[in-house]
Symmetry: C3
Subunit: 244 residues, 3 copies
């Protein structure tokens, strides 16, 4: 059983955050909220999303798993404006997800969740923790696109650095006092695919506070809150092996 009501913006933001990783996903719906875990087809990037019932105006649910085609869901949600009221109901008898926006009703078929196993997000320990504004990361990622295919993220006790390119080079250095938080034991340095990082960046919006967790030749975990703190997102991106 699943019924949720709220501003269109809520449903939109959820699709936005997930669709940078996958186009088909399982919505795991429980009394305590909506939970989504997904990994991209190449198993390089993962996302974990938890939305509290408080994000919605109304929410009532018992354990339900829905296989969602995100493009299809987006095609109806995007017709609403951010503050329009939307409603999402699972119709068990017809096995359809019913999405209402204003006077529009969309009845969507669902994907088979049997082929969507539960994903286990690895529980990692990170030597470095950096808090920064999304705008800084988005700027660095965009700048990197003009010089190469990889991005190096580095942190030590004094600064966090994003760099890319060798002959042509960009570098973005944020010192401790330009960051909300910088905790780093020793030095952390890992290299990532710019394509993947650019995709993840599309799931972020301007003005969001990010927490980056970093290690040595290790994945990066990027956490941020959405929907006025009623939703939490974590992206996990595997490192690339450095080619010298």
């Amino acid at each position: 059983m699943f019924e949720a009501k709220g501003r269109v913006e809520i449903f939109k933001r959820i699709v936005e955050v997930i669709s940078v990783i996958v186009s088909e996903v399982k919505y795991s719906i429980k009394e305590d909220g909506l939970h989504i875990k997904a990994v991209d087809p190449a198993h390089v990037a993962m996302v974990e999303l938890n939305i509290s019932p408080k994000a919605f105006g109304e929410y009532s649910a018992s354990d339900t798993e829905l296989g969602i085609d995100l493009d299809k869901l987006d095609s109806i949600i995007k017709l609403g404006k951010g503050n329009d009221e939307a409603e999402m109901v699972y119709d068990e008898s017809s096995e359809r997800l019913v999405v209402k926006i204003g006077n529009l009703v969309r009845r969507m078929t669902l994907l088979d969740v049997a082929s969507m196993p539960d994903l286990k997000i690895p529980n990692l320990q990170f030597p470095a923790r950096i808090e920064l504004l999304s705008d800084d990361l988005l700027l660095g990622v965009r700048a990197a696109q003009s010089v190469g295919d990889y991005v190096v993220l580095t942190a030590d006790s004094e600064s966090f650095e994003l760099s890319a390119g060798t002959q042509e080079e960009i570098n973005q250095k944020l010192s401790k006092d330009q960051l909300s938080l910088l905790e780093c034991k020793g030095k952390a340095r890992s290299l990532f695919s710019l394509d993947y990082l650019s995709s993840l960046a599309k799931g972020m919006r301007s003005g969001e506070k990010l927490t980056l967790l970093l290690g040595n030749d290790y994945p990066v975990r990027i956490e941020f809150d959405i929907l006025e703190g009623n939703g939490s997102v974590a992206y996990l991106l595997a490192p690339r092996t450095e080619i010298e």
Copy 2:
């Protein structure tokens, strides 16, 4: 003889309304205004447009027929801003349409009107009459685009409904109290090509009051006023035969 002056917006809106149906058209100009009737090449959609001399700042005309290439006319009109003053004069000696916008003068060749016979718009009786805001129709049409190629319009004494799709389904129901007017004897239901209906929708703007005239397996007629009530538009769209 034909001379008309007025805001660029007037000439622009006329092209906008007609060009969703045809790219070449006959402007029938009379003392009592500008009259255009056109049918698309496949004879599925028609438009009838009447513009009163009051729409213009200045207007003087005797019976004149001009064969207009709408793309060509649009290419000059779009250079003006909505409130710029424009002028359109038929130069009989050179057989050119002279369009002035600010300090620009465009002399346009005309098409041969001999190959543009007068069109007769059929005078139909419709069992249902619905008044609604263009925004509602535009929303329904856009939503339908994600589920299929056809749209079903239905009316009875209680509501008007737009629906599309079978497996994947959208439905937009407007009850009597959500409509400015609903008159329907019995039940009216017809199916239309979404492509055509989407084209017609491009001739409408947000905030326009539409009158829909509907029947059973019958054309739909969509009427609305433009240019502060000094112009009236009617689209007529043939139904599609339902394939079960």
Copy 3:
């Protein structure tokens, strides 16, 4: 030696003005400012740009020649907003141009200036001098695009005129009192490639005061100031021979 600081807008406008002619260019940097001369690969259009040190917040330079790939420079500059602070420094040891925007640092390789000979802009005498607003020229050029490939510029003691097309025709006539200045001995008339003139138009912005220097079957020279008068641009465009 070269170091310059100032709003991103300054560096952006310089690239904008030059890149309509060439994609690779030599920045000739002197104590008295930045000087650029370039000709397009077909030797039809030239640009001369002089920027005073006053355009920048800070400027210090001794004779330096930098071979710049404008696309590459643009890819970093466009990441800044107009009023962001930018900095450009030539790092002699690494032979890199270092561009800083906020916390971003881009180190750019340079092109070999040995293959970029000094260009001599011909010193021409023009019988006609016209001062007009860029918006008028931009409008005429855009209108011409719907009728043909050539533009004729004409001036006499009474008016300046831009016209294009033969069968389909556009004409833009500015009389003496619609121009800031009109000086013309006899009659001046030259024909230009619309493609080239459209390109040059992209280097101009709305609201700029242009000086057009014109002759008979002769180049046109278009001069305007940028960066609050701290930069001056001159485009020189060769005429096309008229085909009757």
